[in-house]
Subunit: 330 residues, 2 copies
């Protein structure tokens, strides 16, 4: 049965503000490299004042994933909340122009459009500081039932567990999707995020989630185990399908008895890892929703991730469809 | 005698909105590749709606030059007008964080902060569409006399000739600079801009300008001649010092009997030519205000231009001071 959308992403609608920093900037400001921390408006202003000149690019984890899917030629939709301010218009323009259907109305009142202050160290690693702004206005009323029913996969970011109303929206969407027999997919987003919401995540995964995305730190944090292999054994019991990413060490995909270990793709120059996981999910879904085998899904994920880490920002700068076809993957 | 600033830049305060396009996008929309055209708010919205996903980076010709100078470790200031909106805050943050003194108050009323919709074709060439917005509020009152007197060089972009009040501000700054025996420098900005203001530019150059920057098209347009050499002979009579850039063919610097022909620097991958001329001027001034010979000034210009065309956006992404020292130029 065909649906209007291959994937519906639900997530925080964020504009990234990306700036290179030296490692000392992180230590001077007590920031944990590679993590995402939530900051309030005052902290955001303080950090922005300390940061060097920046580049603004639309971001948001699930939003990056659906923008990536559109670049693969897939049909994608997005739910998320911006304010109707200049940065909100930038976000709306970018995701719509990438080919994603984005109909969530912007907020006219309240906090400004969310931004994520991303500090990129010389090793290409990003450290994220998120001011949620208008994202806290996203709630169950923003879940358009028809769109959920008309999407093969509903993909939600773990970060949504942070704003209270978004969590309720998430649960509502999952329920509609389950009733409509759609796949429910979750990205664990960040190991600190897992730490904040471990027991609810586990409950959710066991009850609702068909496809789980996590990186090594996140899956180890979820099961509070020391080794990747222990986490792997645990997740096999809880989840129909899990795609576990390990940065340069590639990814492992498990589903029932099927297991694939797929290499990462080498890049000429690692510039900025922002969005690597998001685009891995995009590539994976590009294969998955086209009925490809799991190994090919993982290879497509690795391909999309390699494009995104070769430049600043988490939205593709070349056609992923062309790239995949050039590499014989689609 | 030491001054507080090496260079004071005066120009339009603009945020660039940069998006890759195919060549057909330019022809479909009747845009002249490589040019800058002024557009109104309605045209800006229409074009933005047609453009693909974009990246926002602070821009503005003279602003790029002073940001480049700060990256070389020079002391620089900037006059220009933003609105106190989100994009205005982005502009103010970026130029201040780069180390440039920027004290022009933002407008609280009126048009939004200016933006330039920049379309980058696969050959790296940029085609610019500028919505001047709040820049039209910039006027003589924004010329802080003390800062002009305290700058070795006053550098103004030809684009300032477009908004009427900015032109008056420009003339006021030039007069103060002349009285204070400072160098007055002008960039011709764009051949269409020269076409709009040829006779006033010539009058200004003959009366006020000590250092002129122009590319080949601009200088040929100024003198309405067919060949670069004819333009070169003409400008020698009118100007104490002229630095003429010729893209991949390098640059020619003339001052009285002194002439230098300096190569462009090869880049691994030409990504986006936005800001090449602006950063050439930055490198040139980095040498000039440190008492270097003209050949070395031109080499520094070529070096800074090569950095800027290797990535998206017209603000340096690495320290130009380090780059210059690595190349034995400073």
């Amino acid at each position: 049965m065909t649906t209007r959308f291959d994937v519906l992403g639900i997530g925080n609608a964020i504009v990234d503000v990306i700036s290179p920093v030296k490692d000392s900037f992180l230590t001077d400001n007590n920031l944990v490299k590679g993590s995402m921390q939530l900051i309030d408006g005052v902290q955001a202003q303080r950090l922005y004042d300390l940061m060097g000149p920046a580049t603004e690019v639309s971001g948001g984890s699930a939003a990056n994933t659906v923008a990536g899917l559109a670049s693969f030629g897939n049909k994608a939709a997005f739910f998320g909340k911006v304010k109707s301010d200049q940065l909100g218009k930038v976000f709306r323009h970018d995701i719509s122009a990438s080919g994603v259907s984005f109909e969530t109305p912007g907020a006219n009142m309240g906090a400004e459009t969310a931004r994520c202050l991303i500090l990129v160290t010389p090793d290409g690693e990003r450290t994220m500081n998120t001011y949620l702004g208008a994202c806290i206005e996203f709630g169950p009323d923003d879940i358009d039932e028809a769109t959920v029913r008309d999407s093969k996969v509903i993909y939600m970011e773990g970060y949504l567990w942070d704003p209270e109303q978004a969590k309720l929206a998430f649960l509502k969407a999952a329920e509609i999707a389950r009733e409509a027999e759609r796949d429910v997919s979750l990205s664990l987003s960040d190991s600190f995020c897992v730490d904040r919401h471990r027991s609810s995540f586990l409950e959710l995964i066991r009850r609702d989630v068909d496809i789980l995305f996590a990186n090594e730190d996140e899956i180890k944090s979820l099961y509070q185990v020391e080794s990747f292999d222990e986490a792997l054994q645990a997740v096999r019991k809880d989840c129909k399908l899990a795609a576990l990413t390990r940065s340069g060490a590639g990814s492992v995909v498990v589903s029932d008895d099927e297991v694939h270990v797929v290499e990462a793709r080498k890049v000429e120059k690692l510039v900025d890892t922002t969005g690597a996981g998001d685009l891995y999910a995009a590539g994976f879904f590009a294969g998955y929703t086209n009925g490809k085998g799991l190994a090919q899904c993982a290879q497509l994920g690795a391909l999309a991730a390699s494009e995104i880490i070769s430049h600043i920002g988490a939205r593709p700068q070349e056609s992923l469809k062309d790239l995949a076809s050039k590499n014989g993957l689609l």
